[in-house]
Symmetry: C2
Subunit: 409 residues, 2 copies
């Protein structure tokens, strides 16, 4: 279960200040892990607005089903997260488990059930010991605090480091904070399902506006990363806004006053997503793929993901091999419009293919140096339009197989 820290891990967590209207507490409920925290309770101020995006999996977990339903109210007072059991593929038992957790939390905090959000991550298919979770809740409530680092740690499964991002923006001249924590080390963990991310802000922005922004930026942030092409049953990103900042409330996502907030939100989402890729199972290199010249942003992303998900491209990068023939292959299999005879590729800024053929006599030396580094840049122009997108992934190493081939403990 314990793997070495990713070589791409940041040196340290950023300093994480309190966010007005948000208090947290973590505990060790022993749902699956021993001797570590595995439960997070977040209490939010009355008037907190909420928005969310979830996995598109058809076998999604019971907590995801619940959050999608609760989201309709647009309000939140509590978030309960556990690590160790995903409560996925647990049928009616799983639904009942979520119901008990929601009821207990609502009663404890004196809020309505629709204001309680639940996220679970860990093994799939095993009934969850939610009695241990609900038993821990009163103790957590009694020690709510501002320790965000502890929160980032409590939600980890096979993550090799805790992940958090913090930024500020101004609305009407008033500084607001956007702060998020996330977990994930593959689209799915070794039996441990998934990416869970939570973003908190003290801004006063209405739920529909939050949802519009979250939905808008998800394709180019969370949906533009891939570790292993496997989509989890539990992927969840929830954005909470406590409205504790002193500016006048904003109702419309397009409001001019939100321009700084929008930039900061997209940056937080992208940085959280990148923290997940950098902790991708077994990764030794971060790979950034810029696709241009596509029919649309959507098709550019699809082409980028075809390259990012190709095991042949990923194993070549792991070996430091600038194997652009495999990139050509992956573009071809994407199924999206591309002009074979205009296709151009550069690696680390050096053009290796142009207009559908190899660049004769390109200098291999700077490319070899680039490929030996941690930060690989691939640019692909498919020659049919103006659509562009950036996609991030890691390389595919022996450690991926070690991590995922170890028997469920």
């Amino acid at each position: 279960m314990s793997h070495p820290v990713s070589p791409l891990a940041p040196a340290a967590l950023p300093s994480l200040p309190a966010v007005a209207g948000v208090r947290l507490a973590t505990g060790a409920a022993g749902i699956r892990y021993k001797d570590r925290t595995d439960v997070l309770l977040v209490e939010m101020a009355a008037g907190t607005a909420v928005a969310g995006v979830y996995t598109t999996s058809l076998t999604r977990s019971a907590p995801v089903d619940w959050c999608r339903k609760a989201m309709a109210g647009g309000k939140a007072r509590a978030l309960v997260v556990n690590a160790g059991n995903a409560n996925a593929f647990t049928g009616k038992i799983g639904e009942a488990s979520v119901e008990r957790t929601v009821k207990a939390t609502a009663k404890l905090l004196g809020c309505s059930e629709n204001e309680v959000f639940v996220a679970s991550t860990g093994v799939i298919g095993e009934p969850m010991a939610d009695d241990r979770l609900t038993a821990a809740l009163p103790g957590l409530q009694s020690k709510l605090n501002d320790d965000w680092t502890a929160a980032a740690r409590a939600i980890m499964t096979t993550d090799t480091y805790p992940k958090a991002v913090t930024r500020t923006a101004k609305i009407d001249g008033v500084e607001v904070r956007l702060q998020g924590i996330i977990k994930g080390s593959g689209m799915i963990q070794p039996d441990m399902a998934t990416m869970l991310g939570f973003i908190f802000t003290d801004a006063a922005v209405a739920a529909p506006a939050l949802q519009a922004l979250l939905t808008k930026y998800t394709p180019r942030t969370f949906n533009s990363i891939t570790v292993d092409s496997d989509t989890s049953t539990s992927d969840t990103i929830i954005l909470f806004a406590t409205a504790k900042a002193a500016h006048a409330p904003v109702a419309d996502a397009g409001d001019k006053r939100l321009s700084g907030f929008r930039r900061a939100l997209e940056a937080v989402m992208r940085d959280l997503a990148l923290l997940v890729v950098k902790d991708g199972e077994g990764v030794e290199r971060l790979v950034t793929i810029d696709v241009t010249g596509a029919a649309s942003e959507r098709t550019a992303r699809k082409i980028g993901l075809a390259v990012a998900n190709s095991p042949l491209v990923k194993t070549a990068i792991a070996a430091g091999d600038a194997n652009w023939g495999r990139i050509v292959m992956a573009v071809g299999k994407s199924g999206e419009k591309a002009d074979r005879d205009k296709l151009s590729i550069s690696i680390g800024g050096v053009a290796v293919a142009k207009d559908g053929a190899r660049v004769e006599g390109y200098d291999e030396a700077p490319i070899a140096t680039h490929m030996a580094g941690r930060d690989i840049r691939i640019a692909i122009d498919v020659g049919v339009g103006r659509g562009k997108a950036t996609v991030w992934t890691g390389d595919l190493t022996h450690r991926y197989i070690d991590i995922n081939g170890s028997y469920r403990s």
Copy 2:
């Protein structure tokens, strides 16, 4: 370049008799490899009908483009195959190279250019030394023979064993032969592009009927195998019928007289496809995935391929782990209709999940024994309809990364 023979390789090639109307010769043209054969010339009798299926890649190779065009005539007299260079992503230079090869072959054999088929396999993006190929052709013509084993060897790239299948069927009481050779060890080889397969029969079946049958059986044979989800630039299957058998010619694919021929053709196609999976890069286990209860055969296949391509499922199998939670995940990400609460899974014939939840107390012992073997069987019922399909793949082992992470030599 030299890897140990796959543990799934058959003990030996079958005995491969002559096929009336087909003669072959192999040679060492030194296009890329030293000290081995790398060119195959096949001459077919006048009146040979032809059908083909090709890669759907948008970056397909120059030889694929040529074959698709030549196919329109429905006739064939020659097939030229080389190993070592795929002549893919070579632009106008690649087209000119194919043109020269076709012209030289047509002149040598006294046939029209549209009757010459060309297939190339090997490294992508490098101009091909077709002068060496054309220089070898007269020598090959002078020694045409019936050595099918030599032919199966000459088309190999990183294949660890030669691959051939032979069958007979009766048409109007007359025995006809169907014999095929194939190469491939991944959807794409380590830089070496691809699966190439050629099936020959002495039956007298018209080209449109051959095409109809080839197209009909491709989805459930060649398109139902996957090694690594990567689609090559060069995938090619061509079926030639020399009409040398003594039965009356058959024009219609649905003709009752073809019932035995149809069964034999599908079996040859499936067996050739399985030979490729069994030589999949690094595979140690053959995995057969039966999907039932889907909305259609097409969606059943898509669900099966989502499971077969999941790196998490494949690494679990490599480790002998009957990790059905990952199978649930892969079904969910397929995007195809499935009823989470009716989903059932069995492994090695033992039900592990039923109606959307774990089977309580199933016996792990027979499953562990099954997972330790070479032949893994997974059955999935998705609970929405009557569509079914079978998909074949291998496991994902360290050797896959070794093979594909070795620098282009």
